[in-house]
Amino acid sequence: MGTTGETADLVVVGAGPAGLAAAVTALAGGLRVALVDSAGTVGGQFWRHPPDTARAAIPTADLHHGLRDYRALREALAAAGDRGRLDLRLAHHVWSVTRDEDGFTVHTVDRRRAPEETAVTLRAPRLLVATGAYDRQLPFPGWDLPGVLTLGGLQALLKGGGVVAGDRVALGGTGPFLLPVAAALAARGARVVTVCEAAGPSAWLRSPGPLLRNPAKGAEGARYGLTLARHGVRFRPRTAIVAAEGTDRVTSVEIASLAADGSPRPGTERRVEADTVGVGWGFVPQLDLLVPLGCALADSDDGSTVVAVDAGQRTTVPGLYAAGEVCGVGGARLSLAEGRLAAESVLADHGAAPVLGRGRRAAVRATVKRHRAFARALARAHPVPSAWSRWLTDDTVVCRCEEVTAGAVRAARTDGGARDHRQVKQLTRAGMGWCQGRVCGPAVHCLVAPHRSYTPTERLVATPLTLGALADLDHARENTGGAAHE
């Protein structure tokens, strides 16, 4: 049967670094907070952990950084829980959020006994969305073979389940995320046979300022570099995985040096044996819940669309705040700082006293500024190579769900006149399957409109529901006199 949770002062969706920091700050300021995450434990992507009951059986502490902050945040949550001010909703998937004059209704399904689902509706005058991001993918021949995963997927199996996905792993794409994934896999005994970074080694020289102002980032990179050197891992700049081969599982990849525009340099192709492949081209913000609420969006430097926020993390919709990678991808430190700032704005708008003193607040703002500048420099140093589509063949699957090929997408553009991914979808079904275009959307967009930022299609359901949960929802609505209206 459906239930309606307590009304809180603030609902926070997402318990990653941003949502955790926000919830803890708001709780410290005296608010009643509902914190919701689809995962079974807090931490988000960066601090992904097995459930608490499995910490001994699946040790992962060696894979993490900044665990002192993580533990402090968890202790603060537990203390607030003891005082009855925290409504922690783990294994609850938010599938829709609606707004009315009194605030927000957050529709969730409780999946603690999955596949059983129970509808749970939460209400609050203020909502903070911190749903993070997911790996951006560029299709290549063979990327749909079993054994080819996203970089984040490899990391999630490792941090969440202690599972090393293969023996010989080839990694590729662009961005600093290649390094922690390579280091973690190597440390856990996988043979990382190649790390292909599409950007050139000189990418940083074009704007070294932000790196010089963030020495910790340089040190982090050096630490990963040492780990990789110790395990004999080859890091290849200006190189890409341009194909994966195999029948029922990947058995090898083809790598090639890239010209300045990112096209493979003829004659440089080499085959590397691998049973597992990890790829990622930066991250795409997870805006599913934000887009339907109508808040203003903005272009980010990495070609994605992000939610627009002011200096206090307020969106353009009154009462709606956003923090972390939905506002632009920049790493866990930035997410933490944005979470704190967002909660301070919530407290101020609620009429409550700030938690951080003026000096500390200024310091957090300065951290956000510094990390955003760093993220912009990163985005410029690690662009999606403009000529990436050269490695597609006509029969390369672009939309994995509906199995739409690159040839079909190109035909939609040249013969069908499609100018954006929505029109491609109408003509080819690309983006119409289970994932609703989350995976192929950015790539289809690059194929038809490479010079504009990618804006996701409006989606009304952030997670599919069983009919049982929908029936529950009707029940819940009757019980609350129609409080949960769509």
């Binding site: 080819v148 389940g161 996905a165």
Partner: protein, 87 residues
């Protein structure tokens, strides 16, 4: 180790792992067959975004194996095409 049933066969896993992690740990990276090309698929994004990893759990179709904690009393089937449109 705990044991669940996948396609009628026992599968050992460590309590706390997802169904996808348990399958990958056992060496299975593919378990679904696509509708059009009849191609094998398994875990891809690992975080609930791509829907490549769908399985049927206790008769309920369309479950994302990468999000679903494995349990001893669970019956998982993968062989049918889970790419249907009910769910």
């Amino acid at each position: 180790m705990t044991r669940m049933t996948v396609d009628g066969e026992p599968l050992d896993f460590t309590e706390g792992q997802t169904v996808a992690a348990a399958l990958v740990a056992a060496g299975r990276v593919a378990w679904r067959t696509t509708r059009v090309g009849r191609r094998p698929r398994g875990v891809f994004c690992g975080i609930g975004v791509c829907f490549d990893c769908l399985v049927t759990v206790d008769g309920v179709r369309g479950q994302r194996a990468c999000l679903l904690p494995a349990r001893a009393d669970m019956t998982v089937t993968t062989r049918e095409d889970d790419d249907g449109d009910d769910g």
